[in-house]
């Protein structure tokens, strides 16, 4: 069955326009509409898994028109986005009771989903920029949604650095158009293959790396993330850390490097360097944090390093014409960790929201013993902490194991050691969270802390079950072949992937 790809953009966009019309008085109607939209997107995304399709906007044929492309990688990203969006939306029904302007919040949320889906599906460089800006502007407004001191400050910082990133990307798109005379990724890839790399293209590529690096908060470009992600309301933090930095940053980077420019040995090393820096610096900054959400935000930087490291090792092996099996394994590890991180980090942010709602604070030192008052939240946080730290039966363990295996096979033993070390520090850091938040003595003023509402528990439970169930994605060959392997094949096919798409 073929799905009209435009629905992934049109559905949330349409709902985002209808929501402000419903107004703030009919809150439940607005919440229902928003949840129906994210639910429908989840079903559509699951149906589209493993398909390959091209949608021509307005039926204009390719060199003239704009197209949306669904392949293995876009499919995987769409499902990830839809899962996290559905859970965060369900969570926000009751969580957002504390804020006013419900309809505007939901509308901005759906606009952000529109932008993310658009970036994932776009087959055209300029169109990618447009969707990227939609997602950035919506997310920026959401970071400052509370309009308090810290939120406005974080929002401004995010907006300035985000705009700098977007403008780098716009400038690079202009350069690419000047050099190749095309904007469609397929045609750009073909033109680059014919002319080979030259100074202009290399400059455009470095602008793209800086721009998408800013969006993904990789280490030299990470300054905004630890401010922006904690300041947003908890469901939005979950979306930002869970999906936005991946779809706008890492996905864009991977798509351009693998499918448009083509991999080379120096590019592989650049990715590896960015990945290792993010892993190590992110995790060491996280250890010293006492603000719950800020600690989680620093771990996002560190975990994104794992993803980029996996992609970098894959690019390096592929560029050296090494064994395709190991390149495939490295990329598989990176992408699997991306999906895993989306699930467990959004779960962690949701539990942090639940804790903040019950206690009114985010300071670790002022909490303790909350597992007595919030048993479900405590259990969900335990599952997510075990996942992120790489404790065996959970999904995070398998992706880290694959990454270490790939690093050893590429004869990068130091990298394998660093991967294990960072994982160990992550474990220590999350033991600290468990120790200070959920275990220990319950402080006097938290004796009356209330467990979250049932819809919030359903959202957290859904993600917690996924944390365990997603291990099956690599353990069962049938699931691996339908979900992860198509995405890996897209990246491994390199420049040829986009060129074959013209036939459709």
């Amino acid at each position: 069955m073929s799905i009209p790809l435009v629905l992934f953009v049109a559905l949330p966009l349409g709902a985002a326009f209808v929501l402000p019309l419903i107004g703030d008085r009919r809150r439940m109607a607005a919440s229902w509409l928003a949840n129906l939209t994210t639910g429908a997107l989840l079903i559509l995304a699951l149906l589209s898994l493993g398909q390959r399709e091209v949608y021509l906007m307005g039926r204009w044929t390719l060199p003239l028109g704009i197209n949306l492309v669904l392949d293995g990688l876009s499919g995987l990203m769409l499902v990830t986005t839809a899962v996290v969006a559905a859970a965060a939306m369900l969570f926000s029904i009751r969580y957002m009771d504390r804020y006013t302007a419900r309809a505007k919040f939901l509308s901005l949320f759906l606009l952000m989903v529109t932008g993310i889906n658009g970036v994932i599906l776009s087959g055209d460089l300029f169109n990618l920029f447009v969707f990227l800006e939609i997602a950035s502007i919506a997310s920026c407004a959401l970071v400052g949604f509370g309009c308090e001191h810290e939120e406005l400050e974080a929002s401004f910082k995010y907006m300035v650095l985000g705009s700098v990133g977007s403008l780098f990307i716009l400038f690079a798109v202009a350069l690419i158009y000047g050099m190749t005379g095309a904007l469609n990724m397929t045609y750009v890839a073909r033109a680059i293959r014919e002319t080979d790399m030259n100074a202009g293209l290399a400059f455009a590529l470095s602008l793209f790396i800086a721009g998408f690096g800013l969006k993904a908060a990789l280490v030299p470009f990470h300054a905004w993330l630890p401010d922006a992600h904690p300041s947003a309301p908890a469901p939005i933090s979950a979306m930002l850390s869970g999906v936005l930095i991946k779809a706008l940053g890492v996905y864009g980077l991977a798509r351009l490097i693998f499918n448009v420019f083509g991999v080379s040995v120096p590019l592989g090393w650049v990715l590896i360097a960015l990945g290792v820096l993010s892993m190590v610096i992110g995790v060491f900054l996280a250890v010293g944090q006492w603000d719950f959400k800020r600690l989680l935000a620093y771990h996002s930087i560190s975990q994104m390093g794992y993803v980029v490291l996996g992609l970098g090792i894959g690019a390096l092996i592929a560029a050296r014409q090494g064994d395709a099996v190991w390149a495939s394994l490295a990329i598989l590890g990176g992408l699997f960790h991306l999906v895993n991180h989306a699930v467990f980090k959004s779960l962690l942010f949701l539990t942090s929201g639940s804790v903040e709602m019950a206690t009114g604070t985010r300071q670790l030192k002022r909490m303790g013993g909350l597992v007595q008052r919030l048993p479900f939240t405590g259990a969900a946080a335990g599952v997510a902490s075990a996942s992120i730290a790489g404790v065996p039966p959970f999904n995070g363990f398998w992706s880290k194991l694959i990454l270490v295996m790939a690093a050893v096979q590429a004869r990068l033993f130091a990298l394998a050691a660093v991967t294990v070390l960072v994982s160990f520090v992550t474990l220590l850091s999350f033991l600290k969270v468990q120790r200070y938040v959920f275990l220990g003595a319950l402080p006097e003023d938290l004796r009356n802390a209330q467990e979250s509402k049932s819809s919030m528990l359903v959202a957290m439970g859904f993600l917690a079950v996924l944390c365990l169930a997603m291990s099956l994605l690599v353990l069962l060959p049938a699931l691996r072949e339908t979900v992860l392997q198509p995405a890996v094949d897209v990246l491994l096919a390199g420049v040829d992937n986009s060129i074959t798409l013209v036939r459709y």
């Binding site: 406005l152 929002s155 977007s166």
Partner: protein, 116 residues
């Protein structure tokens, strides 16, 4: 040469956005960067002595429009980019206003509650 000047304008904007301490000046720096990017896009499609890219029947003896007109695509892109930048500029300015209401200053040296 013109391309280099355009890139210089871009770098001036970047310098202003990253170094200045006043929020309004930072926003202005971003606007300069956007202008530089838009200007660059227009220049990419420009052709010396070219005609306006309007599709019409050429007068007798003239070549068809596509051969001597400027490239219309970058102009369409710039229009889109301007609309987008309007949206982000409006949001940035409103954040500045709300921040001024809270802190009573535009100096980012004094607006720093977030640390670590």
């Amino acid at each position: 040469m013109l391309y280099a000047l355009c890139f210089l304008l871009f770098m001036i904007g970047l310098y202003c956005a990253l170094v200045k301490k006043n929020m309004v000046k930072i926003v202005l720096g971003l606007v300069i960067m956007e202008y530089a990017a838009n200007l660059f896009l227009i220049m990419v499609g420009y052709r010396l002595g070219g005609a306006a890219p309007i599709l019409s029947r050429p007068p007798a003896g003239q070549p068809v429009a596509a051969l001597h007109s400027v490239d219309p695509l970058p102009q369409a892109l710039v229009l889109t980019a301007i609309v987008i930048s309007l949206g982000s500029l409006a949001l940035m300015v409103s954040i500045c206003i709300r921040t001024y209401e809270r802190y009573g200053t535009f100096d980012i040296g004094q607006i720093r509650r977030l640390k670590g």
